[in-house]
């Protein structure tokens, strides 16, 4: 690859690497899996850099969201958390309750199917629209909405039937 393109790749990774790792960590909940996911996506980008460098970030993000291989790359690599490990909710004050709920939601989030988790990360971390999410995940907007709704319903069941009003995708 030409030196100018090499430099461009280096600059892209330096500029966007941490942001991509944040997405990957939200998807996997695991440091090593997140790094593996990002490195794999960047490797694919590097292999095609002369062709995709004009829109590299969209290309890499799409791979990160769609790459299912990471769960299988390492034996015993755990990227999902079982429902049984969701901590009991405390009966103390509201602050304690909030903290406990937040931890419970985080654990429950990691127990969702990959696609549902990806939808929630795109919607709530990246603040992407339904249409943008559908484009990245390669599905119809209606599917995104139904996946988000299913995920939220499942989270409600996992963290307890609290009196909160449920909403679907925005």
């Amino acid at each position: 690859m030409k030196q100018s393109l090499e430099d461009e790749f280096t600059a892209f990774v330096a500029d966007r690497g941490q942001s991509l790792l944040r997405i990957a960590h939200a998807l996997t909940g695991d440091r090593e899996s997140a790094q593996d996911l990002v490195q794999g996506a960047l490797a694919k980008a590097y292999a095609r850099w002369p062709r995709i460098h004009g829109d590299a970030e969209a290309y890499v993000r799409k791979i990160i969201y769609n790459d299912r291989a990471s769960a299988w790359r390492r034996p015993g690599r755990r990227n999902e958390v079982t429902v049984a490990e969701v901590p009991d909710r405390a009966a103390a004050g509201r602050h304690d309750q909030d903290v406990t709920d937040r931890i419970a939601v985080r654990e429950a989030l990691l127990s969702l199917p990959e696609r549902q988790r990806a939808v929630l990360v795109m919607r709530y971390l990246e603040d992407r629209s339904v249409e943008e999410t559908a484009e990245v995940l390669g599905c119809r907007p209606g599917t995104v909405a139904s996946q988000a709704s299913r995920a939220l319903n499942k989270l409600r069941l996992l963290v307890g039937d609290r009196p909160v009003s449920m909403g679907g995708a925005r």
């Binding site: 941490q18 790094q35 960047l42 015993g76 939601v105």
Partner: protein, 387 residues
């Protein structure tokens, strides 16, 4: 936005905020990216490089054979249109695991034992992977069958995969990406100049390592002597999907590799669509037959002992589950939840491992039994073998 949505937003931001620091991403991506390019060139017949690091294996090993008559090659299995038997005759029991698990073989349903437990992830400054302590709780641990106890070995190995039988452990130092074979009884390691620990499958007897070669073919390595012999199969990987590695078939005389559907346009952002599985002779490397199975076998242990069924990795056809396919017809008889390990422990029973949860499913996909691994195993690679 509802309170639950607020909490979901906070949770995903929490997760994102606890991401590791980016460290040397570009260098690693370059190495892996060049491997991808070399693989593409290899597929065009231009390269002939042993680079198992470019292929992916889900995990290790064991053919699921559990005593009795030696399983026959899949060719002898007749097609079946009958529904699968809903309830196995006798569900394998889950033995109790003692608190000091390292003092005796950890037994699992189906007369299996844990042969090794890999190191826990240990990060040093800037998220760089550090050497794990040489302890049973955190390090690389293997079953020493001469004493019946687990023993801790160097925490520097990134890959640590105990054979399903016998005394050997496949190691990967994580730096040179080359494998070694550790003798769990003597503690001696034979470092080999071959590929990385990915794309490597133990034979069911624990005597031979199977490496998938980038140029098409396999390398068979004798665990005891380190001697290697190659079987050239240049056209075997012409239609290789993303998971491009061979698995052993029951009986140990044949190996198989999935083939993608060439009619489906490839995208590196999406899983491949798999068309069928090709079977080759281990002795000669010659193609024997093609199985109409639409998926990638989830390792050598994913074949039922009688060769009638095989567990398939997620792909374009089913992204969120493990499909169980009838080998003779390709018919999907069940879909299991996504797990980290899947293996047949009898002709009609499938053991899965997900985190610390061990499950036994029947051929309809119904969970028949569940148990838990020791808490010390959390986040560590686990290899299984025969008791």
């Amino acid at each position: 936005m509802t309170r639950l949505e607020d909490m979901v937003g906070a949770a995903v931001r929490d997760l994102a905020d606890s991401a590791p620091n980016a460290h040397d991403l570009a260098s690693v991506a370059r190495v892996r990216g060049r491997r991808i390019r070399r693989r593409r060139q290899a597929l065009l017949g231009a390269a002939a490089v042993v680079l198992a690091g470019a292929v992916i294996t889900p995990y290790a090993v064991l053919d699921g054979w559990n005593g009795g008559p030696r399983p026959q090659p899949v060719a002898s299995v007749p097609p079946s249109t009958a529904p699968v038997v809903p309830v196995p005759s006798t569900v394998a029991t889950a033995p109790a695991i003692r608190k000091d698990w390292w003092a005796a073989p950890v037994r699992l349903p189906g007369d299996l034992v844990v042969t090794s437990v890999g190191r826990r992830e240990v990060n040093g400054p800037n998220g760089v992977t550090a050497v794990a302590p040489k302890t049973v709780q955190e390090g690389n641990v293997a079953l020493d069958r001469s004493t019946g106890r687990y023993r801790a070995f160097s925490g520097g190995y990134q890959g640590f995969d105990g054979a399903p039988a016998g005394r050997y452990v496949m190691t990967d130092d994580g730096i040179t990406a080359q494998i070694g074979i550790l003798d769990s009884v003597t503690g001696q390691t034979r470092q080999l100049g071959h590929g990385s620990g990915r794309g490597v499958e133990w034979s069911a007897d624990g005597k031979t390592l199977l490496l998938s070669l980038l140029r098409g073919g396999v390398r068979l390595i004798d665990a005891k002597t380190g001697a290697a012999v190659d079987r050239e199969m240049p056209d075997a990987i012409a239609l290789c999907p993303s998971y491009c590695n061979f698995t052993w078939l029951p009986g140990g005389e044949e190996i198989a590799i999935a083939q993608r559907d060439p009619r489906v346009e490839r995208s590196e952002a999406l899983p491949d669509t798999v068309r069928d599985i090709r079977v080759f002779s281990v002795a000669t490397g010659k193609p024997l037959r093609t199985l109409p199975v639409p998926g990638v076998p989830a390792g050598s242990a994913a074949w039922s002992p009688d060769g009638r069924y095989v567990a398939l990795l997620p792909d374009a056809a089913e992204e969120d589950g493990i499909r169980i396919a009838e080998v003779a017809t390709g018919r999907i008889v069940a879909t299991l939840p996504l797990v980290e390990q899947v293996r047949f422990i009898a002709d009609d029973q499938i053991l899965t491992v997900r985190g610390l949860d061990v499950g036994v499913y029947d051929l309809t996909g119904k969970l028949r039994q569940s148990s838990r691994l020791p808490q010390d195993f959390l986040g560590r690679g686990i290899s299984l073998g025969r008791a």
